[in-house]
C-alpha cells in the first residue's frame, strides 16, 4: 500500500508555550461525569478524629440558590497532616482518610460533606495556621475555579493569629468562618458568589 502522502502545505502547529491552558466553565451538564458515590464521605467509621458534617448554601448575586455548582474540598487529617508526598511533617497519616471530597449542590443550592475536623498545619516560616478546609467552587457561569477556605468558629484563638485570615479585611472575615450548629456536630458555611456578604475568594 502507498505511503501516507506528506501534507501539501505545512500545517501550522500551535505555538508551544508553557502557559496554563485557559480555564472554561464546567457548564450545567457535569453531573453524570464528575460526582462519584463516595464524594461527600471523606471519613469512614475508622477515621481518627472528631467526626463532623460541613454544609452550606451557595447563592448568586441575587441571593438565589446555585443548584448546579460542584464543590470540592481538600483538607488535612485530624493530626494536621495532608495525605500528599510534599507533606513531610512528623505527624501520623491516617490510612482511613484521603482528604478530598466532591459533591454537586442540590436543588436548594446546598452542599454537605461528612468528614473529620482537620488538625492545624503550618503556614510559611513555621507559623501555625488555624484548622481549615480548602474549598474549590465550579459552576455554570463560573469561568475559572473559585478558591476559598472554611475556618471553624470554635477555634477563635487560632483564627485570631491565622496568617491568611489576617490578610482578610476584618469586616469580611466572617464569610470564611463556619458556625457550629448548637448541640450538633454540624458546621455551616454559606457561600455567596457575589453581592452582600460576598465570600472572600483567593488568588492562589
Amino acid at each position: 500500500m502507498a505511503e501516507t502522502p506528506s501534507p501539501k502545505s505545512p500545517i501550522p502547529s500551535a505555538e508551544t508555550l508553557y502557559v496554563q491552558t485557559p480555564s472554561q466553565t464546567v457548564g450545567p451538564f457535569f453531573h453524570y461525569a464528575l460526582p462519584y458515590e463516595a464524594g461527600p464521605y471523606l471519613a469512614s467509621e475508622r477515621t481518627e478524629g472528631e467526626h463532623i458534617t460541613i454544609e452550606g448554601r451557595v447563592t448568586d448575586g441575587d441571593g438565589r440558590p446555585v443548584d448546579d455548582a460542584l464543590i470540592e474540598i481538600w483538607q488535612a487529617n485530624a493530626h494536621g497532616r495532608y495525605n500528599h508526598p510534599e507533606d513531610d511533617q512528623d505527624k501520623p497519616l491516617d490510612e482511613d482518610f484521603g482528604g478530598f471530597g466532591r459533591v454537586p449542590t442540590d436543588e436548594q443550592g446546598m452542599y454537605r460533606f461528612y468528614t473529620v475536623k482537620p488538625g492545624a498545619v503550618p503556614g510559611l516560616h513555621n507559623e501555625m495556621q488555624a484548622p481549615h478546609i480548602n474549598i474549590c467552587i465550579l459552576a455554570r457561569g463560573v469561568l475559572k475555579r473559585m478558591a476559598t477556605r472554611l475556618y471553624f468558629a470554635d477555634e477563635a484563638e487560632m483564627n485570631r493569629v491565622d496568617p491568611v485570615l489576617n490578610l482578610v479585611p476584618e469586616e469580611r472575615r466572617s464569610t470564611l468562618i463556619a458556625e457550629r450548629l448548637e448541640g450538633s456536630t454540624v458546621y455551616r458555611l454559606d457561600i455567596s458568589l457575589q453581592g452582600e456578604n460576598e465570600t472572600v475568594f483567593f488568588h492562589i
Binding site: 453524570y32 481538600w74 495532608y82 503550618p122 474549590c136 457561569g141 463560573v142 469561568l143 492562589i204
Partner: protein, 234 residues
C-alpha cells in the same frame, strides 16, 4: 518542615475574567470584589493524589461502554499534560464528558430536540502515564443550541477536568476542534480574549495518531500551573 516551593502566579492575561457579560450566567455568579492574594502554604501545594485502581479498563473508551457502538465519527483524542516548566505531569486524573454526535447530552437538563444515543453516555476517565500522556477513544461531539442569546450554538467541544499534583493546579477547561465556524459567535470560547491563548484550547488534527481504516486523531496538550523555580535535584 521545609518551606513549600511556591507556584508561579497565574498569568491572568491568558485566562478568562470571572465577569464576561456576553456569557450571561457570569453576570450574577462572578465575584465583585478583587481576589485576595494568599501565600502558597502546605494547604495550596498539596492536593488529592489518585491511584490507578479506581479507573476501569473501559473508562478511556467511550465507544465501548454499552452493548452496541455509538453513532457518529469515531475519533482518538490524545495528548500530554505538562506544567508551565514544560515538564510532564504523570499519574494525574483526567476526566472528560461530552454530548453525543447529534449534540445531545444524556443529562436530564438537556432537553433540546436531538436524539439520545442508547450506546453513548459521554463520560470517561484516565490517568496520565509517566510521560504525562493520555488517550481517549470517543466520537466527535456535535454542536448544540443553548439559550444564552438568540440563535446561540456551542461549538463542538469536550469538557476536560484535571486535578494535577496540588490544590493550585486544579483546572477545568474545554477542548475544541480546529476550524469550527462557531468560534466567532461563542461567548464562552471568546471569554478568553487573547487569541493566542484561545488557540490553546483548540485541538489539532494529527495524522500520526490517526488509525488507518478506523478513526481520526486529534491532539490536545494541556498545561497546568508550574513552580516558580526548579528544585535542586541530587
Amino acid at each position: 518542615m521545609s518551606q513549600p516551593l511556591p507556584y508561579l502566579r497565574e498569568q491572568t492575561a491568558g485566562q478568562p475574567n470571572y465577569l464576561h457579560p456576553d456569557y450571561r450566567s457570569t453576570v450574577k455568579r462572578s465575584p465583585s470584589q478583587p481576589l485576595l492574594v494568599i501565600p502558597h502554604t502546605l494547604s495550596e501545594v498539596t492536593g488529592p493524589v489518585y491511584g490507578h485502581s479506581r479507573i476501569g479498563p473501559l473508562d478511556a473508551d467511550l465507544t465501548r461502554q454499552h452493548e452496541g457502538e455509538p453513532l457518529g465519527e469515531r475519533i482518538v483524542v490524545s495528548g500530554r499534560v505538562l506544567d508551565e516548566n514544560g515538564r510532564p505531569v504523570p499519574n494525574t486524573l483526567v476526566e472528560v464528558w461530552q454530548c453525543n454526535a447529534a449534540g445531545r447530552y444524556i443529562h436530564a437538563r438537556d432537553q433540546h430536540p436531538a436524539p439520545l444515543d442508547p450506546n453513548f453516555t459521554g463520560a470517561g476517565r484516565v490517568v496520565t502515564d509517566e510521560n504525562g500522556e493520555y488517550r481517549f477513544i470517543t466520537i466527535k461531539p456535535g454542536a448544540y443550541p443553548w439559550k444564552n442569546h438568540h440563535n446561540a450554538w456551542r461549538p463542538a467541544h469536550i469538557h476536560f477536568s484535571l486535578l494535577g499534583p496540588s490544590f493550585i493546579t486544579r483546572l477545568v477547561t474545554q477542548m475544541y476542534f480546529p476550524g469550527d465556524p462557531l468560534f466567532a459567535f461563542d461567548p464562552i470560547f471568546n471569554s478568553v480574549t487573547d487569541p493566542k491563548a484561545a488557540a490553546r484550547m483548540i485541538s489539532r488534527f494529527d495524522m500520526e495518531s490517526t488509525v488507518p481504516e478506523w478513526a481520526l486523531g486529534y491532539k490536545f496538550d494541556i498545561v497546568l500551573r508550574g513552580r516558580e523555580a526548579t528544585p535542586m535535584e541530587d
